[in-house]
């Protein structure tokens, strides 16, 4: 079954919200609001998340893991090196002194946290990604876009809904 | 690469002087810190240098130690040279020596820098107009023979520094062969006045001073820790003296107008008006008499009138100090009174010295802390002692155009003669001037022929020290390494060649100076106390120890100095125009300036001012404040003879009426480390001489100072804050009643 993409542009979040609500209320065959709908916006807009419904974010887990591993790696790398370096006794301090190791462990903790968070962001956000088949550069300017994916049969229904809500422009993937 | 003094291998081996002195692959010490753990062969160092033949004890990487004698000054310290792969690396003291007992001063250690000095003369040079031309030794000898041809003995003169041992013998023989009696032995800073005074007082020029046996040492400007007579030996005595007999620490009182290194170590440093040391000595005698010490008639008569008030007034030493000093001298015996160059550098220097020696007599120190020194039974080898009176005679003769041929050796009069003598101009009147030189110093530059000498570390010789520490001894000087430059020759070899020119037959048995030395010493083997041993063994033992200790008898010491003829002038009146006394200070390391080209000495801070690489004018802070002078102000110091410029250093250890400039710097030649650093105070010395001995009165020059208007940074080690400990526990001090030295280890 071939899926087709449809992109509609709106001038405001309000319109887009209405569209999403309507799509959610209308049952269209071959189109699932939660899976096949993507809202693109030029700014970060919390309301988008609200009207699309809660979706889980996993970046924090990466962060936690990265920070802990960074800290552990830091401490053991440093202490291990101190314990094995040829010449260790310095300034009357213990071979494995805590204050310096804490400082370095702390830095490694942050380093791990930041690095793995960014990694997590890329993974969770699916970046780097190929551009989706339908894209309008006006999204990066001031338009809100709704990209839907549906079976070929459903496009006209969707199109009707978009038009109803004053879509500024509707793009449709060229037929194969 | 591992060795140290702990595994010293004193070379007790037959001397086959061929292969092992060879410089062997010395690349080991070159630039160290290249990259990381790179173990490939370093560029330019691909070859391992090996021996053809090697004695069994010569092991690469293990140092060999040879005993020899230090030639940096006349004290005659015995050294122990560390040699590795054919290079001499370091000079250490020979522990078997009575003189230095394994110790070394910095001047002596810098001997290696004399040896390796890049500015040494390497080829015989003949004057061609303003330039020197390299010639061969054969030509040089032929030239000397030619110049001497038809010249009578009176027209030849030899100017030498202090010289002793076989070199002196050979030098005498050479002059004799020339029919000349004109040997001038000149040393710019020798204790010549003292020798004369000692001779008068004790019957010997240089008795033994037992500082270690004295409970009180009263020194009139004798810098025995720095530059006086035999400093390393006296330093050891001083250390014992400080530990004291029975735990009673020796007390050192130094009387002088400018603080010397010894003064800086004194328990009490008494500043006196320049030239009044003799007055103080007589005042002390007078006070001692007043406190019950018996004085002989003439002494009592001589010191009459030197009452405390007058002495205090003349010298500037307070009555309180005088009383304390007298009490101390009376209470703690034996004591020792020393007369140093600072007391003697005046027109009445001999009188000062006599007064001071008289004090020893009165205190009963003669025979206790002043003892007869052992004598060397070979009078021809005892040192020809340098003085400045010789220079004056020579200068007068030169001015009269008396000499057609003049030899100079081991002295640099163009640099050290007082400016008032106009020595350089007079020197030009000599016909043909031959300089035996290590460096192209100021005198060598004036010569017509310059003959390069071996350094003391590559030459043979014997030396008899003037000051005998214990028994008499003859020091052996032997090469520690192969010649550095192919075309230098030993002074002994040169003299031998020259004397052969005159009397070939007499010396035909001696191929070289080494042969001469060995032959001569073997002939007196018996007298040296080794009659029974065979020649080779004797020779090996001699070279191994580097010292021939002699049984020699002690000279007689006369203990009846008389006060007859003691006539001290009243304290000098102030000179309205030239208001300051100039004290040219003799520093421990630079002395008369012959070693200034050794960078270790240049960079070794002057102990008192911590100044390096430069000259300075010491002036008392109060006087400086009066005159608006601050540290670094360039001052013009003018005497009647001339003027020099140097920067001021405010120094509390100097009489306000005096300024002091150190000797030894201000070279116009000599080499890269000496030329252009500092100024030469010899240049402005007036021609004033000691009335009795005719010695130059070094401290008699009067100067005036004026600010030039320039201010420069004084190059010194002390921080700009002036080295004040500021209540920090850095350099601590206690007085004797707070310590229990006898309990110490």
């Amino acid at each position: 079954m071939s899926k087709r993409h449809l992109l509609a542009m709106f001038s405001s979040f309000d319109e887009a919200e209405l569209v999403v609500q309507e799509l959610r209320n209308t049952s269209i065959k071959g189109f699932d609001v939660n899976d096949d709908l993507v809202v693109k916006s030029p700014i970060e807009h919390p309301e988008v998340e609200e009207f699309l419904g809660e979706k889980p974010v996993y970046v924090q887990w990466f962060t936690l893991f990265g920070a802990l591993m960074g800290g552990l790696l830091g401490f053991f790398l440093i202490s291990g090196a101190q314990a094995n370096f040829f010449e260790q006794l310095k300034g009357g301090k213990p071979i494995v002194p805590f204050p310096p190791n804490f400082v370095l462990t702390y830095e490694m903790f942050i380093l791990g946290g930041v690095y793995i968070s960014v990694l997590g962001f890329l993974i969770c956000a699916g970046l780097p990604a190929k551009r989706s088949p339908l894209y309008s550069s006006s999204v990066s300017e001031d338009k809100i876009a709704i990209l839907v994916k549906s079976e070929a049969g459903a496009t006209s229904t969707l199109r009707a809904i978009f038009t109803k809500h004053q879509a500024l422009e509707i793009q449709e993937e060229a037929g194969k | 690469m591992i060795d140290s003094s702990s595994i010293k291998q004193l070379a007790g081996h037959p001397f086959d002087r061929r292969d092992f002195l060879k410089v062997l692959g010395w690349s080991g010490a070159a630039v160290a810190l290249s990259g990381c753990g790179n173990t490939s062969i370093e560029n330019g160092k691909e070859t391992v240098v090996s021996y053809v033949e090697a004695a069994d004890y010569v092991i690469p990487g293990v140092a060999v130690y040879y005993n020899s004698t230090c030639a940096q000054c006349d004290a005659g310290c015995n050294i122990n040279g560390r040699v590795r792969e054919g290079r001499v690396l370091k000079l250490e003291g020979n522990a078997a020596s009575a003189i230095n007992r394994g110790k070394m001063c910095g001047l002596g250690q810098a001997g290696v820098q004399h040896h390796y000095n890049p500015d040494r003369v390497r080829e015989p040079l003949l004057r061609k107009g303003d330039k020197g031309e390299t010639i061969s030794w054969d030509k040089a000898y032929a030239l000397i023979a030619e110049k001497l041809n038809g010249v009578s003995g009176e027209q030849v003169a030899f100017l030498s520094g202090a010289v002793s041992g076989h070199l002196k013998v050979l030098l005498g023989n050479y002059l004799e062969s020339l029919g000349s009696k004109n040997l001038y032995v000149y040393e710019a800073v020798a204790p010549a006045v003292q020798r004369a005074a000692n001779k008068k007082a004790y019957g010997t020029e240089m008795p033994r001073f037992n500082i270690n046996k004295a409970k009180v040492v009263l020194s009139f400007g004798a810098d025995f820790l720095g530059s006086w007579v035999s400093p390393v030996h006296f330093s050891q005595q001083y250390a014992q003296f400080r530990k004291g007999v029975d735990g009673q620490r020796g007390v050192l009182v130094q009387v002088e107008s400018k603080m010397t290194l010894t003064g800086a170590n004194a328990d009490r440093w008494l500043v006196v008006r320049p030239g009044t040391e003799g007055i103080l000595a007589l005042g002390i005698i007078n006070a001692l008499g007043a406190s019950g010490v018996t004085l002989s008639g003439d002494v009592a008569a001589a010191v009459q009138g030197y009452d405390k008030a007058r002495v205090s007034n003349d010298t500037g030493v307070s009555v309180e100090h005088l009383d304390k000093l007298v009490a101390l001298l009376k209470e703690r015996t034996p004591s020792l009174v020393l007369a140093g160059s600072a007391a003697e550098g005046y027109a009445h220097g001999s009188q000062n010295a006599a007064a001071i020696n008289l004090l020893n007599q009165v205190l009963g120190n003669v025979g206790k802390t002043i003892e007869a020194s052992a004598s060397v039974p070979f009078p021809q080898m005892i040192p020809a002692k340098g003085n400045t009176a010789a220079l004056k005679t020579l200068n007068d003769d030169l001015a009269a155009g008396k000499y057609k041929v003049l030899f100079t050796y081991a002295t640099n009069p163009v640099f050290t003669a007082p400016g008032s003598m106009k020595f350089k101009a007079n020197l030009a009147k000599a016909g043909f001037k031959v300089a035996f030189a290590h460096y192209l110093d100021e005198t060598a530059l004036e010569a017509d022929l310059v003959l390069p000498l071996d350094s003391a570390l590559e030459d043979w010789g014997t030396q008899v020290p003037e000051y005998m520490a214990e028994g008499a001894q003859i020091n052996i000087q032997q090469p520690l390494m192969e010649k550095l430059h192919a075309n230098t020759q030993g002074m002994g070899d040169i003299l031998l060649t020259l004397v052969k020119q005159r009397e070939a037959d007499k010396y035909k048995d001696f191929a070289d100076y080494y042969g001469y030395l060995r032959g001569s010493l073997l002939t007196i083997k018996g007298a040296l106390g080794s009659g029974g041993t065979d020649d080779d063994t004797f020779w090996d033992e001699t070279l191994t120890s580097g010292i021939i200790k002699l049984a020699g008898s002690a000279e007689q010491l006369s203990g009846n100095a008389s006060a007859a003829g003691l006539q001290l002038p009243a304290a000098a009146a102030a000179d309205a125009q030239y208001s300051f006394h100039l004290i040219p200070s003799v520093t421990a390391y630079l002395r008369d300036g012959r070693h200034t080209n050794q960078p270790w000495l240049q960079e070794s801070p002057d102990p008192l001012t911590t100044i390096v690489w430069d000259s300075w004018v010491e002036i008392h802070p109060k006087k400086a404040a009066e005159l608006g002078i601050v540290e670094g102000d360039v001052l013009e110091v003018s005497s009647r003879t001339g003027s020099i410029r140097a920067q001021a250093y405010l120094f509390p250890g100097i009489h306000p009426d005096a300024i002091s400039i150190p000797l030894g710097r201000g070279h116009e030649a000599l080499g890269r480390y000496a030329k252009g650093y500092g100024v030469n105070p010899f240049q402005i010395l007036d021609a004033v001489f000691d009335q009795e001995t005719g010695e130059l009165a070094l401290h008699e020059t009067r100067v005036k100072i004026s600010k030039v208007g320039q201010r420069i940074i004084v190059v010194k080690d002390e921080g700009a804050a002036g080295g004040k400990p500021e209540q920090r526990r850095i350099a601590l001090s206690k007085s004797t009643d707070q310590v229990k030295l006898s309990e110490e280890v």
Binding site: N84, V114, D142 | G719
Partner: protein, 454 residues
């Protein structure tokens, strides 16, 4: 006065900012050329010093660090305000940060890169620099982790890389805008590559929000730790004048202070050079100025506390250093620091100066000078008046080589910054849009509320 006008069209924002990326004005080239020349001077000095030895800097044995370390701290300090404006204000939802945080962050990054250079140029054997890096090697050696210098290296590395990531992550939506709007050769390719295919989908924004917030959270303690570690270089040592408990907060305050001053300077320059009057409004400037004033007072207080503590305490050596600072050869610079750092900012308390651009420009430069002097006065006097009296007051006036490198660092920083401004949008477009959007919503609400009240 408004932070920003609500009626700016989103498309105009794009246009205005994008225009700053192209067609540089003549003035731009003049600045770039000047910066390049300065940098070349510094580079020349470093090459000379590398060849001949550190001695050409006229350092000596007690005074071993000189201007290098002082300027190092200065640049490290400079970096902190980027983080402050960006991360702290982000967490606190102070949306006036939005038009100005981008360049502040760039400033953070570049001043860290400049600071790093000073660590390099001050090393005696730069060619062996890698000995200080912890890497397994066949010799079995490691750097000394007890050394505050190593903590420094680690902290700076963490801070620099995290700041770059923070800057970059925050810029992705803007890079996408650039990608979509610029159509010329290398730029297009660069932006396409860096935008990572950002399309502004809901999933991207969702993760973006969390990530950005997370990094911001990490950056704040990191920034504090970085500068307190720099303070540890001194405070962890035993030297009088350095061994001070209040050094870490003092350094952090000083860092924020100099950073804020630098932000004002750059704010004014950018506003003028790129004609960002609509975005970098006087209202925002005023807020920044007030923030600066507050920090200046914190710094002044901490300074006073430090001196007071030393004065009140029984540590004679530390006291001696303090007296030396105020009366010794460093006195002109020390009093200069007090004047520039504590007296000059009092001007910022006056309302009429808070938006007076020429005055603010001059003041901000003076503040920076004061803060540079502060760093020098931390480093140099202790060397010249430490525990050991023998080497006291042997102060060394820095040679032209040192000054050349200090100048060069300003050139290097300016150069980096100018290049950045032409390659990357120095005003965050998407966030300005957000700001405008929220303002207009707010306005609408107010209007409706107002109407209702009638």
């Amino acid at each position: 006065m408004k932070d920003i006008r609500e009626d700016i069209a989103w498309a105009k924002i794009n246009r205005d900012v994008l225009v700053s990326l192209e067609n540089p004005r003549k003035l731009y080239w003049v600045i770039v050329f000047g910066a390049l020349s300065l940098f070349s001077v510094g580079l020349g000095c470093e090459i000379y010093q590398y060849q001949v030895g550190m001695g050409v800097a006229n350092l000596n044995n007690p005074n071993v660090w000189g201007l290098y370390i002082a300027t190092f701290i200065f640049w490290i300090g400079m970096s902190h305000s980027g983080t402050l404006l960006s991360a702290i204000l982000h967490l606190m939802h102070a949306d006036w940060r939005k038009p100005i945080y981008r360049f502040a962050e760039a400033m953070t990054t570049f001043s860290l890169m400049t600071a790093g250079l000073f660590v390099m140029v001050h090393i005696g054997r730069l060619w062996q620099f890698y000995y200080a890096l912890p890497y397994p090697n066949d010799r079995g050696t490691w750097p000394n982790f007890q050394s505050p210098l190593l903590w420094d290296a680690m902290a700076i590395f963490t801070y620099l890389s995290s700041s770059v990531l923070f800057l970059y992550v925050g810029m992705i939506p803007d890079l996408a805008i650039c990608r979509d709007n610029l159509h010329k050769g290398w730029r297009k390719k660069l932006y396409t590559l860096l935008a990572l295919g950002w399309e502004g989908t809901d999933r991207q924004w969702r993760n973006f929000r969390v990530t950005y917030l997370t990094i911001a959270c990490f950056l704040i303690p990191l920034a504090v730790s970085v500068h307190s570690i720099v303070a540890s270089d001194f405070a962890m040592s035993q030297q009088p004048g350095w061994h001070v408990t209040s050094f870490p907060p003092y350094f952090v305050a000083g860092a924020l202070y100099s950073g804020c001053a630098a932000i004002i300077t750059l704010f004014i320059i950018l506003r003028y050079v790129f004609r960002f009057e609509d975005y970098m409004t006087k209202s925002i400037l005023k807020k920044t100025v007030r923030l600066t004033f507050a920090i200046a007072m914190v710094w002044t207080y901490l300074n006073a506390v430090e001196f007071a503590a030393v004065w009140y305490g029984h540590d004679m050596d530390a006291k001696a250093v303090l007296i030396q600072k105020a009366t010794g050869p460093f006195a002109p610079f020390w009093w200069g620091m007090v004047f520039c750092g504590s007296v000059v900012p009092l001007m910022l308390a006056f309302k009429r100066f808070q938006t007076n651009i020429p005055v603010l420009f001059a003041v901000s430069l003076l503040l920076n000078l004061g803060m540079w002097l502060e760093r020098w006065m931390i480093v140099a006097p202790t060397f010249s008046h430490g525990y050991y009296p023998w080497v006291w007051d042997n102060d060394q006036w820095p040679s032209l080589i040192q000054w050349g490198m200090v100048m060069g660092s300003f050139g290097w920083f300016t150069l980096l910054f100018m290049v950045f401004c032409k390659v990357f949008p120095s005003v965050s477009m998407y966030e300005v849009k957000e700001m405008v959007y929220h303002r207009s919503l707010h306005l609408k609400k107010n209007e409706t509320a107002g109407q209702g009240a009638h």
